[in-house]
């Protein structure tokens, strides 16, 4: 049988086919995939013994207890600590707390900015520059201001003592989540801090506060109470809390105050209340304000009836962390609603809590003011403290108070949003690098005091607020106590122990145990190990001694016809729009899933988009009186017409070293008002 060329071809073909069916190709693929793996590019995780440390989250006023896993004494991961008194749990932000000391935007040393370019300086130079500017301010009759977004800490006391020693010191704060509580507390026979007896509350009416998404008070407490708590969300858009609430009352942007006072009128009518409350509420019948409020009068009447029937009901304000404060008048209106509901001093309502005891201090003489109350162009030196309340602060709100040529100093661990606006940046210890106090959250029914102890050493160049205040006082020749942060914390622990009330709870592996504490040192040690002090309940003074008052032009502002354009509805999750950058791992929520809208996406209703003649997913320019941003427009059927929703944070530029933040999101658009709000901002949208 002759051997032909065809036989050779058959043989080769058969071999090729056989080879393809053999393990060889797979082996080759396997080997190639292994050879091309870039394992050398992978970082090696740290090695060492595993331990667990107790701490608290300090990224917002919630103060959630955390259990931190450390390897070789280096914190790696945080988890909520079970059984925390006042509600256990933590949000996504808190779980990334150990990332912050390692953050790419961590500052290594003091910097001076010349035309936006950072220039390293020594701490001595920085202190001398602040002292020189302070002396100059004294000569010019201008103010030296410290902006403290977490008042009540021992660091706050140190700032107050420094400012008291100056002839022109101003201690400025921002309205926080507890703004309604402050308004209502002022209406008591004896003004006192207030909390909520949430465990027995029947209905919670939230005016813009993100109660169901972990953005108000202690998140774990609200979620634990949720199954028996009816929640009514009053919002200008279908916010995450509105989407989770039992009822969403959609109101016109900026009409929160009008709705609150109309509800108060309806409740007072329902309950047959007499003077002086009825007199104050007389002009605000739901049928008279319905049109301006954007809510049917019948809907408000029905809600008022249900609040009376399903009580105790409490109404809270505070606003969205990205949309800023509601304003004093709105908070007063909500306080009026609470008085009409009779929810002060009853089980399930507002209850008084005593202030956390403090050590005696020399802090007397400084002017105390909310930032919007500080006169325009009056501040020559503005020092922004490192503590963050997790809420947005648009730069124009601070810029307004600055005199020409003012020195802005940022004490901050990070090269964050506000630090990049400052002329001088002094690095502070990052979270977990220095002990930090945890004061009661806005909702807390009783006072408490806990601490986030230092778990890792701070960089040598970092300086805490107490030490910086002391150095500034020394440079200015001012006489203030020279106690360190730790000494001040020990003094406060002694004051709490000396007050002789409440109980100390030590932190175990999975629980909290009441512990007898026989000395001030033991009290400090217990708290420094992650334990906590919890006060006894306090009697609530009688309410209604004074009726909260609205300013003369409040109603005129609320009922004024809208200007042209769309109403801007800014929003943010608590802690993502403040001056502390978020962990890069939060991109799991903002970039790699559709769970949370990023700052580069604006939403309008399909009808509004049709009126604008702009299609879905088109690139648009959004312009306001303050600035403009480029974003992608999305159609959102849940959004009422005539509104544009845009996240205020987190700013992706704030994750990139050297990038200038404030180019995306709602904050560059914010037009700040005299009352410190930026809720009346109108915007125009055009295709970019």
């Amino acid at each position: 049988m002759p051997f032909t060329r065809r036989d050779i071809l058959f043989g080769l073909g058969g071999s090729a086919a056989g080879l393809a069916l053999s393990p060889l190709p797979w082996k080759l693929l396997d080997d190639v995939s292994i050879w091309t793996q870039r394992r050398h590019a992978l970082p090696l995780p740290p090695r060492g013994s595993v331990s667990f440390r107790a701490t608290h989250c300090t990224l917002c006023p919630g103060g959630c207890a955390l259990r931190v896993r450390c390897v070789a004494e280096r914190p790696l991961a945080a988890m909520p600590a079970a059984g925390q008194p006042g509600g256990a749990g933590a949000c996504a932000l808190g779980l990334t707390l150990p990332h912050l000391p390692l953050h790419p935007l961590r500052l290594a040393g003091p910097q001076r900015r010349n035309g936006g370019r950072p220039e390293p300086v020594t701490l001595e130079t920085a202190v001398e520059q602040i002292a020189a500017a302070t002396r100059g301010a004294e000569k010019d009759g201008r103010s030296v201001m410290v902006l403290d977004r977490r008042p009540g800490r021992v660091v706050s006391t140190a700032w107050l003592e420094l400012l008291s020693a100056l002839p022109n010191g101003v201690y400025a704060t921002l309205p926080g989540e507890d703004a309604t509580f402050a308004a209502l507390g002022g209406a008591l026979e004896q003004p006192a801090p207030l909390g909520v007896d949430l465990e027995q509350t029947g209905t919670l009416v939230s005016f813009g506060a993100p109660v169901l998404e972990g953005g108000w008070g202690r998140p774990g407490r609200v979620l634990a109470a949720r199954s028996r708590l009816r929640v009514v969300q009053v919002d200008a858009w279908r916010s995450p809390s509105a989407a989770l609430a039992d009822e969403w009352l959609s109101v016109a942007p900026g009409a929160h105050g009008l709705v609150a006072i109309a509800l108060a009128h309806a409740v007072a009518r329902e309950r047959g209340l007499g003077d002086p409350l009825r007199q104050a509420l007389a002009p605000f019948a739901p049928e008279r304000v319905a049109s301006a409020a954007g809510v049917d009068a019948s809907r408000m009447d029905a809600l008022a009836r249900s609040l009376v029937a399903r009580g105790p009901a409490v109404a809270i304000g505070g606003g969205d962390p990205g949309a800023g404060p509601l304003g004093n008048d709105v908070e007063q209106a909500i306080a009026l609603l609470d008085l009409a509901l009779g929810s002060v001093g009853v089980p399930g309502g507002f209850v008084a809590r005593r202030p956390v005891p403090e050590a005696p201090s020399m802090a007397q003489g400084a002017t105390l003011a909310a930032l919007h109350e500080v006169p325009t162009a009056s501040v020559a030196v503005a020092l922004v403290d490192a503590a963050d309340d997790g809420r947005a602060l648009p730069w124009p709100a601070l810029e307004r108070v600055l005199a020409p040529g003012a020195l802005v100093v940022s004490l901050s661990p990070f090269d964050g949003v506000l630090a990049r606006r400052a002329a001088l940046v002094v690095p502070a210890p990052a979270p977990l690098e220095a002990p930090e106090e945890v004061l009661p959250s806005a909702d807390a029914a009783v006072a408490s005091w806990a601490m986030a102890p230092a778990l890792v050493p701070a960089p040598q160049a970092a300086i805490d607020g107490v030490a910086l205040a002391a150095r500034l006082a020394s440079a200015l020749g001012a006489s203030v106590p020279q106690a360190t942060l730790e000494e001040r914390l020990k003094q406060r622990a002694a004051a709490i122990h000396g007050a002789g009330r409440g109980r100390f709870l030590a932190r175990g592996e999975r629980d909290w145990t009441e512990t007898a504490v026989d000395s001030a040192d033991a009290a400090y040690e217990l708290v420094a190990q992650g334990g906590t002090w919890v006060d006894d309940p306090a009697p609530t003074p009688k309410a209604g001694a004074r009726v909260p008052q609205l300013s003369k032009d409040a109603v005129a502002r609320w009922t004024a016809p809208s200007a042209d354009g769309l109403a801007l509805v800014p929003f943010a999750v608590r802690g993502t729009a403040g001056s502390t950058p978020v962990s890069p791992l939060l991109t799991k929520l903002y970039q790699e899933s559709d769970l949370r809208p990023p700052t580069a996406v604006v939403a309008v209703s399909p009808a509004t988009a049709r009126a604008l003649r702009i299609g879905d997913h088109r690139r648009v320019r959004v312009t306001s009186g303050a600035g403009s941003v480029i974003a992608e427009l999305r159609h959102d059927p849940s959004l009422p017409d005539g509104r544009l929703a845009l996240a205020a944070g987190p700013d992706p530029a704030a994750l990139q070293p050297g990038a200038m933040p404030g180019t995306t999101g709602a904050l560059p658009l914010a037009v700040t008002e005299e009352d410190g709000t930026w809720r009346a901002t109108r915007v125009r949208v055009e295709e970019a």
């Binding site: 970082p43 996504a92 990332h99 390692l102 989770l244 799991k588 790699e592 769970l595």
Partner: protein, 253 residues
């Protein structure tokens, strides 16, 4: 392919209460921290990102309340689709725990498993993982990092199971079924995630899985998923099923 089991072994499973979930995303972030999932690459999006656990929002016009559906590997118990198609045996089911594990060093990146997974619960590493700044110092030494070109997915935090077994062995006990909690269940502030041994009828998770209102996603496929969901609302149950099958969020990377 049937899941091999051993006598006395566990069958770990999860029950997620959709009526409690508030969509905070703590589970997704805790999972990423625990399992060394890197932050998003600059070009990553919702199709190409690496999310072992992803939370979807679902709505219904007839209900004022939205719902959130956390989606993760459903840990199929029978006919595990990804294991059936993997040419590399890079997907393995532990007979002692029922956990469907991924072995990244065996994976050649063909992504057949991603095509086969009906729940779109797998992620492909399109880029070299990067931890900006000093963040690599916060990596978990119990979990290996993965390179570009391999597929990864939820493992029910199987390294925590190993730790629990080691602790148990150190205490002188030897049981296949030990108690442990994955990072997502530990992190959930709403208490929406229950985890435990489905094979133990006394366990909370077994009780919840068989309670009225509990269901599994894409039940018609008979994958024997070990992740159960719960909701009192009919539309949420239908929407969750639809969300799992939807191809707009994640298909094949």
């Amino acid at each position: 392919m049937e899941t091999p089991t051993i006598e006395g072994g566990a069958r770990y499973g999860m029950v997620i209460d959709l009526d409690r979930c508030n969509g905070c995303g703590a589970c997704a972030v805790a999972c990423a921290v625990e399992n060394n999932v890197p932050p998003a690459a600059a070009k990553a999006n919702d199709r190409t990102g690496i999310t072992w656990m992803r939370v979807h929002r679902v709505e219904n016009a007839g209900d004022p309340r939205a719902a959130f559906v956390p989606l993760l590997c459903q840990q199929c118990g029978t006919k595990t689709p990804c294991a059936s198609v993997c040419p590399q045996n890079a997907v393995e089911t532990d007979p002692a725990s029922g956990i469907v594990a991924q072995v990244p060093v065996r994976c050649l990146g063909c992504r057949y498993c991603m095509a086969a997974c009906p729940y779109h619960a797998r992620s492909f590493n399109w880029w070299d993982p990067e931890w900006p700044g000093e963040l690599a110092q916060a990596l978990n030494p119990e979990v290996s990092t993965r390179t570009r070109g391999v597929v990864e997915k939820c493992t029910f935090c199987s390294h925590r199971l190993q730790e629990a077994r080691q602790r148990q062995a150190a205490e002188g006990e030897k049981k296949a079924a030990v108690e442990y909690t994955p990072a997502c269940a530990e992190a959930c502030p709403a208490g929406a995630i229950a985890f435990g041994n489905l094979a133990d009828p006394q366990s909370e998770v077994a009780r919840l899985a068989s309670a009225p209102g509990s269901f599994r996603l894409l039940e018609a496929l008979h994958t024997g998923a070990k992740v159960y969901y719960r909701s009192e609302r009919d539309w949420v149950r239908r929407a969750a099923d639809g969300r799992a099958a939807a191809t707009d969020g994640r298909t094949h990377g």
